[in-house]
Amino acid sequence: MELAIGLILGACALGAGLAMIAGIGPGIGEGNAVAKACEAIGRQPESKGSVTTTMLMGCAIAETTGLYALVIAIILIFVAPNILVDILVNTMSQLPK
């Protein structure tokens, strides 16, 4: 029983860590977006305001995939262990001794 609970907790923590690998993608994407925005402002300094607004919008949308991973990681850390341990305890108590 203790071993099973330990496995559940460990697997949840590992899963959360693995889910956050998705943070690489938005990092690269946002870096590209900001680099291009800097180039655009360097070329046309008078369009700084609209370029900055568009860049922030684009960054926010590029961030979405990373935030999906974050939500999954948070669920795995704070919500999933309780539910899984409850399921384990219930099934163990229903098994014939």
Partner: protein, 302 residues
């Protein structure tokens, strides 16, 4: 600048007090009901009490109470800003109020067009509520935007608006829009309809919540480090975690102030873009013109 009367100043004072009182109530609730725990913990919104309902119990949580308090604060702030508003400007705050209205009108006009100008009060209300909800974590309240139920409610509201504007050309036109560009893509179009509110709510809630999680982790790490490094100090001096003074504030500038305001702005921008993008303007106008023509033809026959 003319001298203001006594009753005018009294009403001003009342508005300012009513702006501060809700936040003070929130802090008092926080102090009175928070259970004393050892160390730093990371919890969701606490449930104060539940109201029994026919289908399901209705829990009243911290985030609901806090967002109501923030709403009251914004309400009295608006009353304060428009108090004594006059054609001939004699108060400084009127300039500020006009600036806000002009900026928001310009933003809505730029992003949504002339047809949607009635949306600017809604947009500024959403911006103010979202920004102030996120900023309420600065005075120690639980920020309502780090609860998915609050942000999810706003996203569902936006989803209803989007569907309303898509239905403007009639239900048949709405159903037909799923089969664009090919009929084979209908299931994917149907799914992407629901992806909009989900991604909007996850984006806002994830940003605020990740800031809270990182701040808490930093606080735990700094208190441990402080015990390790400065634990040799005599008496009670050694028990105070000195490193937690000031250092978390630097991160708080980014995660609470900048991120909160940016997410509010992005939520408002996405609302504007989604709602105005859902409205098929040309088709709607053509439909209207055809209806008018039909009516005129009927009148002439009669």
């Amino acid at each position: 600048m003319t001298k203001t009367s006594r009753s005018f100043r009294l009403l001003d004072m009342f508005y300012i007090v009513m702006m501060i009182v809700p936040l003070a109530i929130g802090m008092a609730i926080q102090v009175l009901t928070k259970p004393a725990t050892e160390g730093i913990t990371l919890t969701g919104a606490r449930i104060f009490f539940t109201i029994p309902m026919p289908l399901m119990d209705f829990p009243v949580t911290e985030s609901q109470i806090n967002s109501l308090l923030v709403t009251v604060t914004i309400f009295f702030f608006c009353l304060y800003m428009v108090h004594g508003i006059h054609e001939r400007v004699h108060l400084k705050r009127q300039h500020f109020a006009e600036l806000i209205v002009e900026k928001v009108d310009g933003l809505v006009h730029e992003n949504m067009g002339e047809y949607f100008m009635g949306y600017s009060p809604f947009i500024i209300a959403m911006l103010a509520l979202s920004a102030l909800s996120s900023l309420s974590s600065l005075i120690g309240l639980y920020p309502p935007t780090s609860d998915i139920n609050v942000v999810g409610g706003w996203a569902i509201l936006v989803f209803i608006l989007i569907t309303y504007y898509k239905l403007k050309c009639g239900p048949l036109y709405y159903l037909k829009s799923f089969t664009e560009p090919v009929a084979l893509l209908a299931p994917i179009n149907f799914l992407s309809e629901f992806a909009t509110p989900i991604s909007m709510s996850f984006r806002h809630y994830g940003n605020i919540l990740s800031g809270t999680v990182i701040s808490t982790l930093l606080a735990v790490a700094l208190s441990g480090l402080s015990n390790l490094v400065l634990g040799w100090l005599p008496g009670f001096l050694g028990e105070i975690s000195w490193l937690r003074v000031g250092i978390p504030a630097v991160l708080s500038i980014y995660f609470d102030v900048f991120s909160g305001c940016l997410q509010a702005f992005i939520f408002a921008m996405l609302t504007m873009m989604n709602v105005s993008g859902a409205f098929p303007k040309e088709d709607y106008e053509e439909r209207k013109r055809k209806k008018l023509l039909k009516k005129d033809a009927k009148k002439q026959i009669a």
